[in-house]
């Protein structure tokens, strides 16, 4: 019986496989190419994908826009460096500390922000981002102030670290891909679609929104910890409002697909970022033009095309009556229902005709 649910996951697993192939290809290609610039570009891409995915948890699953992801990324980075330098623990422990710090920050901030919606929420998180930026500069004893902090034992341009980061990015996307099929995932998508309706069928709207923020911030902070491992040096200039804006742009740009959209947004942005280091004086202008043209004239993003992504198709088939294995599984309804059935599709989960069949 549970096989039916498994089928939904199996269907999703095709996307997983594609993700693994894509990330593995990027990693192998970069490693084979061997240049440090290629490694750095891929590391930036992986980290950016993690940030994009973290925002996707908030924006894609519960419609909570955030302009503070990079601030939290910074919190994770500073916590990791602090923990490592003060206690000398290994990187995995620091990662746990960062994840915990991110989740805690999420719970702390989500409570006051819980009544804000849509772009008003974005503006509230904008204020948080600016406050965090100021805090990074002024809390000199913890952050080293504007002059930044060196990271002990950082593995700069290391291929294993690059592979780890890309594995994490792929893992988070795959996790999201399956999360939306799960019970909680579908409930939070219901919250996203209609909070009033969700509350009326007994869904704890506030709790789910809170958890989305906490998990999202934990992922962003974890990415910050990974960042310290490759950076060797962190300073408040790494964690600015502009970068947070870039993450939001990447998510909107990618479109509403939680998997391909995340990947497409992050990839497009990373390409632009890496490519414009050699375009004197034009990178900011290009960014501006891209914001106006791409967001304005491609409203559903790179992977959008008006296809609702959050459709979760539970492959349901009614249990067959024992001993009547060959009979039509469609249950018999009332007379009125039978009239409706007459125009229904034979297969219980046939797609409507306006959309072509997919694989």
């Amino acid at each position: 019986m549970a096989a039916w649910i498994a089928r939904a996951h199996v269907r999703a697993a095709r996307t997983d496989l594609a993700m693994v192939v894509v990330f593995a290809a990027v990693v192998i290609f970069t490693a084979a190419h061997g240049s440090d610039f290629a490694t750095t570009t891929t590391i930036n891409f992986g980290l950016f994908t993690l940030l994009t995915a973290s925002l996707q948890i908030m924006l894609g699953f519960s419609n909570q826009a955030s302009l503070t992801q990079v601030g939290i990324y910074g919190v994770g980075a500073y916590v990791a460096v602090y923990v490592e330098t003060e206690t000398g623990v290994a990187m995995p422990v620091a990662l746990l500390a960062s994840l915990a710090a991110g989740a805690a920050a999420g719970l702390l901030l989500a409570l006051p922000l819980s009544r804000l919606r849509e772009h008003i929420l974005a503006m509230g998180t904008l204020a948080v981002q600016v406050i965090l930026s100021e805090a990074f500069v002024h809390l000199t004893s913890l952050t080293g102030g504007v002059n930044g902090e060196a990271v002990p034992d950082a593995l700069i341009d290391s291929v294993p670290v690059m592979a780890t980061i890309c594995a994490c990015a792929a893992g988070v996307i795959i996790g999201l891909n399956h999360f939306r099929i799960s019970r909680v995932g579908r409930r939070i998508l219901a919250v996203k679609a209609d909070e009033t309706m969700a509350a009326s069928i007994g869904i704890n709207v506030r709790w789910l929104r809170l958890m989305a923020v906490a998990v999202s911030f934990a992922v962003a902070a974890g990415a910050g910890c990974l960042f310290t491992e490759t950076a060797g040096f962190i300073s408040p200039d790494d964690f600015t409002l502009t970068s947070s804006l870039a993450v939001l742009v990447a998510v909107i740009l990618g479109g509403r697909s939680v998997t391909w959209g995340t990947l497409a947004g992050a990839a497009a942005y990373s390409v632009l970022n890496a490519e414009t280091t050699s375009l004197p004086g034009l990178s900011d202008l290009l960014l501006g033009i891209m914001l106006v043209v791409v967001l304005g004239y491609l409203p559903s993003g790179l992977t959008g095309f008006r296809v609702p992504w959050q459709r979760v198709r539970l492959p349901y088939r009614a249990p067959r009556a024992s001993g009547a294995a060959d009979s039509d599984p469609t249950p018999q309804g009332t007379a009125a229902a039978a009239a409706v059935d007459a125009c229904a599709h034979k297969e219980p989960h046939t797609r409507p005709r306006i959309l072509p069949r997919k694989w």
């Binding site: 019986m1 549970a2 039916w4 649910i5 019970r183 579908r186 409930r187 998508l189 219901a190 679609a193 209609d194 009033t196 309706m197 509350a199 009326s200 069928i201 007994g202 869904i203 704890n204 709207v205 609702p308 959050q310 459709r311 979760v312 198709r313 539970l314 349901y316 009614a318 249990p319 469609t330 249950p331 018999q332 309804g333 009332t334 009125a336 229902a337 409706v340 059935d341 229904a344 599709h345 297969e347 219980p348 989960h349 046939t350 797609r351 409507p352 306006i354």
Partner: protein
């Protein structure tokens, strides 16, 4: 207060309920008790703006009350959040169905079926069976895989009803279930609703279509200006001069009782 509560708490007990929006008083000292036994349908009539939908929103905690008390099956509603209502055995539908239009009918109903966890409920698969049963109960058994947004309006209302049924309520609040339905759909709805009361669910329905009210409701309550002006059985309501004057209008005499077409 009454002797009934000692045996079993009433399905719904509203007392002294007040609600204003800005300067407009929508409900004033509203009182209504619906006993848990016998299960029956109670119809609420009233002109637009009489406070019917507000009453439903207050009961389901979608808007906060100014004063008064609401109890369902002995639970204090005003001390609970909207999400707790499903656990108390209360479900509702909306005048305009609120569905996830991008999802299949089944997914929509499974949301309800999985919402309140009870012991021996089983996992998602069991919830899917319950959801399919609920869809079948409203006559959409063959539509499980259909995307909700592609259904006609009337069927969407039925999907929403199925989702409410999947919560396994004891008290079902329906906000104009027949509005926007064709005559055929309306008669089918009447059958479904009758079946529900027979199955032991108390219904509280807001309805303008007298035919549906006459066919399903045992008791009719009429609201005007935020208070109850009439409370009696369906036949008495249609006969009542007060109801005629305030609600049905003078021309209601011509209406045919079975297939009443108002307005």
């Amino acid at each position: 207060m009454s002797a009934v509560t000692a045996v079993e708490p009433a399905a719904l007990r509203v007392a002294g309920l007040c609600k204003s929006f800005g300067g407009v008083r929508v409900l004033r000292d509203f009182e209504l008790t619906v006993p848990a036994q016998p299960q029956a349908a109670v119809a609420i009539l009233g002109q637009n703006g009489a406070g019917k939908t507000t009453l439903l929103n207050l009961i389901t905690r979608l808007v906060p009350a100014d004063a008064g008390s609401i109890e369902v099956f002995g639970h204090n509603v005003l001390a609970s959040a909207a999400r707790h209502l499903a656990g108390y055995g209360v479900a509702r539908t909306f005048q305009n169905p609120r569905l996830l239009l991008d999802e299949t009918c089944l997914s929509n109903v499974v949301l309800g079926a999985q919402s309140v966890r009870r012991r021996r409920d089983g996992g998602t698969v069991a919830a899917m069976h319950r959801a399919a049963e609920a869809l079948e109960r409203v006559g959409l058994g063959g539509q499980t895989g259909r995307i909700a947004g592609t259904l006609p309006f009337g069927s969407r209302k039925l999907v929403e009803l199925a989702r409410a049924l999947a919560l396994r309520p004891r008290l079902l609040l329906l906000d104009e279930p027949a509005a926007g339905l064709s005559d055929l759909e309306e008669s089918r709805l009447a059958e479904i609703l009758t079946g529900l009361t027979d199955a032991g669910i108390t219904l509280l329905l807001i309805e303008h279509r007298m035919a549906l009210v006459a066919a399903t409701a045992r008791r009719v309550v009429m609201m005007d200006g935020g208070a109850i002006v009439f409370d009696g059985d369906a036949a008495a309501a249609i006969a009542s001069p007060l109801v005629r004057e305030r609600y049905l209008g003078a021309g209601f005499d011509q209406v045919k009782p079975e297939r009443g077409k108002l307005r």
